[in-house]
Amino acid sequence: MFGEQVMRVSQPATAASIPRNRHRRREAWWGMACVAPAVIGFLLWQLGPIAGSLFLAFTDWSIAGTPHWVGLQNFHRMFTADDLFYKSLSVTGIYTLASVPLSMGAAFFLALLLNRKMPGLTLFRTIFFLPSVIPVIAGSVVWLWLFNPDFGLLNALLGSLGVPKLQWIYDESTVLPSLILMNLWGIGPMMVIFLAGLQGIPRELYEAAAIDGGRTIHKLWHITIPLMTPTILFNLILSIIDTLQVFTQPYVMTQGGPNNASLLYVLYLYRKAFQELQMGYASALAWVLFVIVALVSFLVLRSSRRWVHYGGGEV
C-alpha cells in the first residue's frame, strides 16, 4: 500500500531529475524499511491471530487436541443453549449504558472546571489524572478494601452519616453499580481530551456572547457543547469500545460473582478460553462481541451526522 503511493510519486522521472529521483527512491526505500517492523508486527501478531480466531470460531478446538470443523455449532449453542451468554450480554449492556454516560458526564464536568483560570490548576489536573497512571490491578485491590462491608472505608464514612451497611460488590444487586462507581475513578484520559477540545474553542465567541448578554449557561449550551461535539463523539466511541471490553476489574474483584451478577462478557470469554479450555467456543464469543462493537460504533457514527458540528461547515 505504502509502496504503491511512493512509486507513483517517483514515476514522472525525466533525465534532468535523475539525481533527485534517485534520492527520492532511496528515501522511499528507507521509509518502507522504517515502517516494516510495524507492518510486519501487525500482520504477524495481530492480523494473523485475528484470522486464526475466525477459523477457530468454527471448530471445537480445546488447545490440546486438533481442531475439528463444526460449522455453526458454536454459534448455535451460544444463541440457543447458553444462558450465561445472555446473562453476560445483559450485564455488559447494563454496565455500558450506565457507565459511558456517567463517566463522560463526569469527565466533561471536570474538564469544564479545570479549564478555568485559577490558582493550583496544574495540581488539580494532576490529581484527577493520577488514578489513570496507577495500574488497574493495584487500583482494584485498593477498591476491594474501600468496598469491604465490615472493615472498609466507604461503609465507615457512610456509617458515620447514619447510612446502613451496604454490601457493595458482595451483593447481587449492588455489584454492578459499585463497579460503575469505581470506573469513575479512571476518567483521567477522557478528561484530558475534553480539556484539549475546550482549549480549541475560540475565545471571541464567548466574548461575542457576553456582549449580547449571554450568561454562563447560554455560553455552555450554545457555544461550548456544539463546538465540543467532535470531541464528544470521539470520546463516546472510544469509551463504548473500552467499556464493552472491561475485564480486569471484575476478574480481580468479583470473578463474575455473586451469582454471575458481574459476569461481564470478556470475563466469560476468558473463562471459556483459559479455564475451561474451550478455545473454539471462546473464539466464537469473541467474534460475536466484535460484531456488536462494530455495529454499535457504526450506529453512533451514523447518528453523529445529526448532532456533531465540525467547524468550517459541511465536509
Binding site: R22, I63, D150, K165, E172, F274, Q275
Partner: protein
C-alpha cells in the same frame, strides 16, 4: 560515491536484519541444544516469591547433583499460569515437568498430552508408596497423570489471646476429641464481639457493628466440602453422572454455614473474606478468633508475632478433613521421561525442598508420616514452625481422617460445573437471600446437562 554509500547502507541493513534474526533464535522457543548428551528439561511452576526462592534453590541443587540432566525452572504468576501453559501447548512446545491446575490437567490428559506415570510408580519400592489421596488417576484408574506436588489438609487455626480474653477453652487438636458443631457454634458466639464489647450470646449484641468475629472460612469449595464428608454426604455420585449437593446431608451442612453468618452473626461472608487479607492477617489484627484454612498456612502463621494454635475441624457426624494436593505432571512430549521423573520426585522430596519444614507443604510419601526420624525431618526441621499439636492435626489427620478424594480428582468437566452451577448457587447461600435447599436445588438443576461422568 553515492552508489558506495548506498551499498554501505544496504550492508548495514543486512547486518541489522541478521542480528535481529539471531536475537529471535536466541530468545525464541527453539533454543539451541546444549552440547553433549545432557538432558535439557524445562520446568514451569507458580508460587509466591518465597516459594520461588525455595524452588530455585532446589533446582540448582538438582542440577549440581545430576550432571547429565539440566533443568531450567520457569516461574509464572498463578494468575497468568493457565494461559502460559495453554500457549506453550498450542505452540507445540510444552514444558517437560509442570505444576498444573486440576481443571487443566485432565483435559490435557484426555488429549494425550500428559505422560502416564503408572509404570514408574508400579516399580517404586512399596515402602516409598504415596498417600492414596494424592494420585491423579485417569482412564478408570489405569493411568496416573500425576500426583500432587505436596499435600495439605484443611484444619482450623485459632488466636489464643482472643480465646483467653473470651474465657473459652482452646479447641482440641485430636480428631476424636474434636468439637461437635453445637459446641463450635457456641464458642464462636462467645468469641464474636461488637464495638461495645458485647459478645454474640448477649441480648444487647449489635450484629451490624461487629468488631471481631469468631470465625472466618474460605469461600472456595474446600472450605465446605470437608463438612459435607463429615456429615456422610457426597458431592457427586461415584460414576460422576449426578451432582448430589441437594441431598439432605449436604443441605444441612451448607444451611449450618449460612446460619453462622445470618443467624449467629459469628462470621463475615465468605465472599468478602475471599478478598479480605488471608485468615492469618485477620487473626493477627484481632479481627477473627478462628480461621478454617489449609495446612499450608502454617508458613504464614509461624511468622506472626502472636500466640496461635491448630485444631481439628468441628464435626457433624465424624471427624473428617480433605487432602488438597495440586497436580504436577510430566508432559508427553518430553524427550527424557526417565530424567524428567527423576526431577519430578526430587522436587517433591522433603529432603531437598525446604518448603516442607517451612510449613507450606506436607509430604506425599507415607513413610514421612509413620517413620519417626523422617517425620521429625520436616515437622521439627525448623524450630518454631509447626506447633506441638501438628502431630495430631497434620499427621494423624492426614493418615487417618482424610475423606476419599473430592471431585476435583476425578469428576469430568468440573471447572464448568463449578463455574456455572455450584459457585453461583453457593454465592446465593452466602448472600443470605436463598435457603441452602433452594440454592442447591438450582445448582443440581444447572449441573445436570453438564455432568459427563468421571475420568
Amino acid at each position: 560515491m553515492n552508489c558506495r554509500l548506498q551499498q554501505r547502507r544496504r550492508t548495514l541493513l543486512t547486518h541489522l536484519c541478521l542480528l535481529a534474526c539471531l536475537g529471535f533464535c536466541a530468545f525464541g522457543p527453539g533454543r539451541l541444544q546444549a552440547a553433549g548428551d545432557t538432558a535439557e528439561l524445562r520446568f514451569t511452576y507458580w508460587g509466591s516469591p518465597f516459594e520461588k526462592q525455595a524452588i530455585e534453590k532446589a533446582v540448582a541443587s538438582f542440577n549440581a547433583s545430576h550432571p547429565s540432566i539440566h533443568v531450567t525452572g520457569q516461574h509464572t504468576a498463578y494468575a497468568a499460569y493457565a494461559e502460559k501453559i495453554a500457549a506453550l501447548v498450542a505452540a507445540g512446545s510444552p514444558p517437560d515437568v509442570a505444576y498444573l491446575d486440576y481443571a487443566q490437567a485432565f483435559p490435557y490428559a484426555a488429549n494425550g498430552k500428559i505422560f502416564d506415570l503408572a509404570s514408574f510408580y508400579a516399580r517404586q519400592p512399596p515402602d516409598e508408596s504415596l498417600l492414596e489421596s494424592t494420585y491423579y488417576r485417569f482412564d478408570g484408574g489405569k493411568k496416573v497423570i500425576g500426583t500432587g506436588l505436596a499435600t495439605g489438609v484443611v484444619l482450623m487455626y485459632y488466636n489464643k489471646d482472643l480465646f483467653d480474653r473470651a474465657g473459652v477453652a482452646y479447641p482440641p487438636a485430636a480428631a476424636d476429641q474434636a468439637w461437635t458443631w453445637d459446641k463450635f457454634v457456641d464458642a464462636a458466639k462467645k468469641l464474636t464481639r461488637d464495638r461495645n464489647g458485647n459478645n454474640a450470646t448477649n441480648s444487647k449484641f449489635d450484629p451490624d457493628k461487629v468488631d471481631s468475629y469468631g470465625l472466618s472460612f474460605p469461600q472456595s469449595w474446600w472450605g465446605y466440602m470437608s463438612f459435607i464428608y463429615s456429615n456422610d454426604g457426597q458431592i457427586a455420585s461415584e460414576d460422576g453422572t449426578r451432582l448430589l449437593l441437594n441431598q439432605p446431608a449436604d443441605v444441612q451442612v451448607l444451611q449450618a454455614l449460612q446460619d453462622l453468618i445470618y443467624v449467629h452473626h459469628v462470621c463475615p461472608k465468605p465472599t468478602q473474606s475471599q478478598n479480605l487479607p488471608a485468615s492469618d492477617i485477620l487473626m493477627q489484627t484481632g479481627k477473627v478468633a478462628m480461621g478454617i484454612d489449609g495446612m499450608w498456612k502454617v508458613l504464614d502463621y509461624s511468622k506472626l508475632h502472636q500466640r496461635w494454635g491448630m485444631a481439628a475441624l468441628p464435626i457433624f457426624k465424624k471427624p473428617v478433613t480433605i487432602v488438597i494436593s495440586t497436580p504436577k505432571v510430566i508432559f508427553a512430549g518430553t524427550k527424557y521421561p526417565e530424567q524428567a521423573f527423576e526431577f519430578y520426585r526430587y522436587i517433591s522430596d522433603p529432603k531437598q525442598v525446604e518448603l516442607f519444614k517451612e510449613g507450606l507443604w506436607a509430604p506425599l510419601e507415607k513413610r514421612y508420616y509413620t517413620d519417626p526420624a523422617l517425620l521429625a525431618s520436616w515437622l521439627q526441621g525448623k524450630a518454631g514452625v509447626y506447633p506441638a499439636e501438628a502431630r495430631d492435626v497434620v499427621v494423624d489427620y492426614t493418615l487417618n481422617h482424610a475423606a476419599p478424594q473430592p471431585p476435583v480428582y476425578w469428576l469430568k468437566n468440573i471447572q464448568q460445573i463449578m463455574d456455572e452451577a455450584v459457585t453461583p448457587a453457593v454465592d446465593l447461600i452466602w448472600s443470605g437471600k436463598t435457603s441452602a435447599q433452594d440454592a442447591l436445588n438450582q445448582a443440581v438443576r444447572k449441573a445436570t446437562p453438564l455432568m459427563q461422568g468421571r475420568w
